[in-house]
């Protein structure tokens, strides 16, 4: 039966038969909702009041968002989080990759252990870090006290206006440094030995070898890691919601967290759809430009 069926199908038919279900699913679950959201973003619709007539408000939602100082504040919080977490992850991740690339005994086992945090559920990670950050009895504060002498009860990582933005950066760095490390390691291993051997013959110093061979060769890999991390962190919701839920006040209120409040607590569906579209266009546009730059770097 299957044989008969298979024989009658041309390659062309099989190709479409195989690809269409996936495309249809993505159209139904991603593209149709996207267009629905675009439509809603021009209305004053509220999902908790389905009976009320939907009114077309034109660009009013977009004007409100772009004119809102609060929203710019949340975007700044997001930018701070994205910038610092990725900077730390790049430095630590690249450094670790350089060390692991020395292939000391047991490096494979240690690498697997180091990778664990990034595989875990970000929401659950957020929950248990609130425990580690407890000012009275949390292990984090205790360790800080042990090494610096600052009293464990004298500071609170997630309750303080000054420290909370750094606590989300810290947890994200803990979680995702291995990600950057793994990709950098692949970059380092892609460099053929003979390049270094040639540099050695030319008596290039280790410092110059690092800047003229290692860094440029790893750069495309590193940029790819930064791209993936930046997209993810710009969308960040789960870990930070569980860790600080945007607080204290709105010090760690990332764009996604505020979007959730507008959409599912205040039920301003039209307004939040416009906000969602703006965020999506920002990520999509920035990612596209970045990929063009990345391809140029690769070609060099």
């Amino acid at each position: 039966m299957a044989a008969n069926l298979g024989r009658r199908l041309s390659d062309r038919t099989i190709a479409w038969l195989f690809i269409t279900p996936t495309i249809l699913l993505l159209l139904a679950i991603n593209i149709f909702p996207l267009f629905w959201a675009i439509y809603l973003s021009f209305t004053n619709y509220r999902a908790n009041k389905p009976g009320v007539e939907i009114k077309w408000v034109g660009l009013q939602n977009y004007e409100r968002i772009l004119g809102s100082e609060d929203i710019w504040g949340y975007l700044q919080v997001t930018a701070h989080f994205v910038f610092w977490s990725i900077l730390l992850q790049v430095l630590l991740g690249f450094g670790l990759a350089l060390l692991i690339n020395k292939r000391f005994r047991g490096h494979a086992t240690l690498t697997t252990l180091i990778l664990l945090p990034m595989m875990l559920s970000p929401a659950v990670v957020g929950v248990f870090w609130t425990y580690l950050f407890q000012p009275q009895n949390g292990i984090f504060n205790y360790i800080i006290e042990f090494f610096t002498g600052i009293g464990a009860a004298d500071f609170t990582m997630i309750g303080s206006v000054n420290l909370a933005p750094w606590s989300i950066v810290l947890v994200d760095t803990w979680m995702w440094t291995p990600y950057v490390m793994l990709i950098c390691l692949a970059g380092l291993r892609s460099i053929p030995d003979y390049i270094y051997e040639a540099a050695e013959v030319d008596r290039a110093s280790a410092w110059r070898q690092f800047w003229n061979i290692t860094v440029p060769m790893v750069l495309p890999f590193l940029m790819l890691a930064v791209l993936f991390r930046a997209i993810e962190n710009f969308k960040m919701f789960d870990m930070v919601v569980e860790l600080t839920s945007g607080g204290p006040g709105s010090i760690t209120e990332l764009a996604s967290i505020n979007l959730k409040r507008e959409a599912f607590e205040k039920w301003r569906t039209g307004f939040s759809s416009a906000f969602a579209i703006i965020l999506f266009v920002t990520v999509f546009g920035a990612a596209n430009i970045y990929v063009k730059v990345l391809n140029k770097v690769k070609q060099r």
Binding site: I19, A123, L132, E197, L224
Partner: protein, 319 residues
């Protein structure tokens, strides 16, 4: 000087013994620091509630299963007089709970949430890998018009913030009656996972030489049979690795589950933060729940270690 450098028996790219030793020590230090939080939450699962909030934090303590009992049960506080009037406890967990002047009122939702995570995880993984394998084969072997655009379209669906997707999906599911159902969550997770599955599996299938299928087809196999009997077995490792990545995503996902499900179909991640005890969070129960939830992922990470790099970069980096 240069003669010595060239003459050295080891390759110039081989690090010195001392360099290796220092590198190993530093990486070991990082591994210890990064594992402390995980070990700590694992240990907390075996503490009593007073031990879990002791100052200074207790590294050595009498292990207790109270956290594990608490995560699976709901309990009510009773007066000592009432407890006196009860018959002696039947089981070890009853007696453990009575020591805190409480009786077990019934099971907690944790077991059901864990089941939901399994149902949604395996359901969406199966569908995503099934659809993804077909599509990946299609993209890998045939001339498809606008191939690159379609592939980029599949990838770009991952760039939307989950909350942005959730707004219209919420409305759509409300209309279709898919809110708070396993099916609704399975469809959504399949859609998210299928983009990863297509990209990863296309990479794996690209690596299988076309000659294998062509030889089989000369031997009388149809294209479909060649796909089933030649390509699928060859791609089995890749399919397994892809499945584990999809499973991990579904298992860890939080935002959609929080917004689109409630009592019936909600998975474990939104539940774990709600394990409340008296006076705040019941940390040993949180530790126990977290440990039970994270353990499968730890096992999968070890199984997956050779394919991790591909998985986390959508197949962009392969070795």
């Amino acid at each position: 000087m240069s003669a010595a450098a060239l003459d050295a028996s080891r390759s110039v790219t081989e690090p010195s013994a001392l360099g290796r030793y220092i590198a190993g020590a530093l990486v070991l230090l990082y591994a210890i620091v990064t594992l402390v939080p995980l070990v700590w939450i694992f240990l907390t699962g075996f503490k009593t509630p007073p031990d879990s909030i002791a100052y200074p934090p207790k590294v050595v303590f009498d292990p207790s299963l109270e956290g594990y009992v608490n995560v699976f049960t709901t309990r009510t506080r009773q007066t000592p007089e009432y407890l006196q009037s009860l018959p002696p406890p039947d089981t070890w967990y009853d007696s453990l709970v009575r020591k805190r002047n409480m009786v077990i009122a019934g099971p907690s939702p944790f077991g059901q949430r864990y089941m939901n995570s399994l149902i949604v995880g395996f359901g969406s993984t199966f569908l995503a890998v099934f659809l993804g394998t077909l599509a990946a084969y299609g993209f890998s072997r045939f001339k498809v018009p606008l191939k690159d655009d379609l592939l980029f379209f599949i990838l770009s669906t991952r760039m939307m913030p989950p909350i942005a997707v959730a707004i219209p999906i919420f409305l759509m599911y409300r209309t279709l009656g898919l809110s708070d159902t396993h099916l609704g969550l399975i469809i959504l997770y399949t859609a998210v996972n299928v983009s990863l599955a297509v990209w990863l599996l296309k990479g794996f299938i690209d690596e299988i030489p076309r000659e294998y299928e062509e030889a089989a087809m000369i031997d009388g196999y149809s294209r479909f049979q060649a796909f089933r009997k030649v390509v699928l077995p060859q791609a089995s490792t890749g399919i397994a690795a892809t499945a584990i990545f999809c499973l991990i995503f579904s298992w860890n996902e939080y935002a959609f589950s929080l917004l689109l499900t409630s009592g019936e179909a909600q998975t474990a991640p939104p539940f774990i933060p709600t394990i409340i005890g008296e006076g705040g969070l019941d940390w040993p129960a949180v530790g126990a729940g977290t440990t039970l939830f994270l353990l499968p992922i730890v096992v999968f990470t070890v199984l997956l270690r050779k394919h991790l790099l591909r998985g986390i970069t959508f197949g962009a980096v392969r070795k």
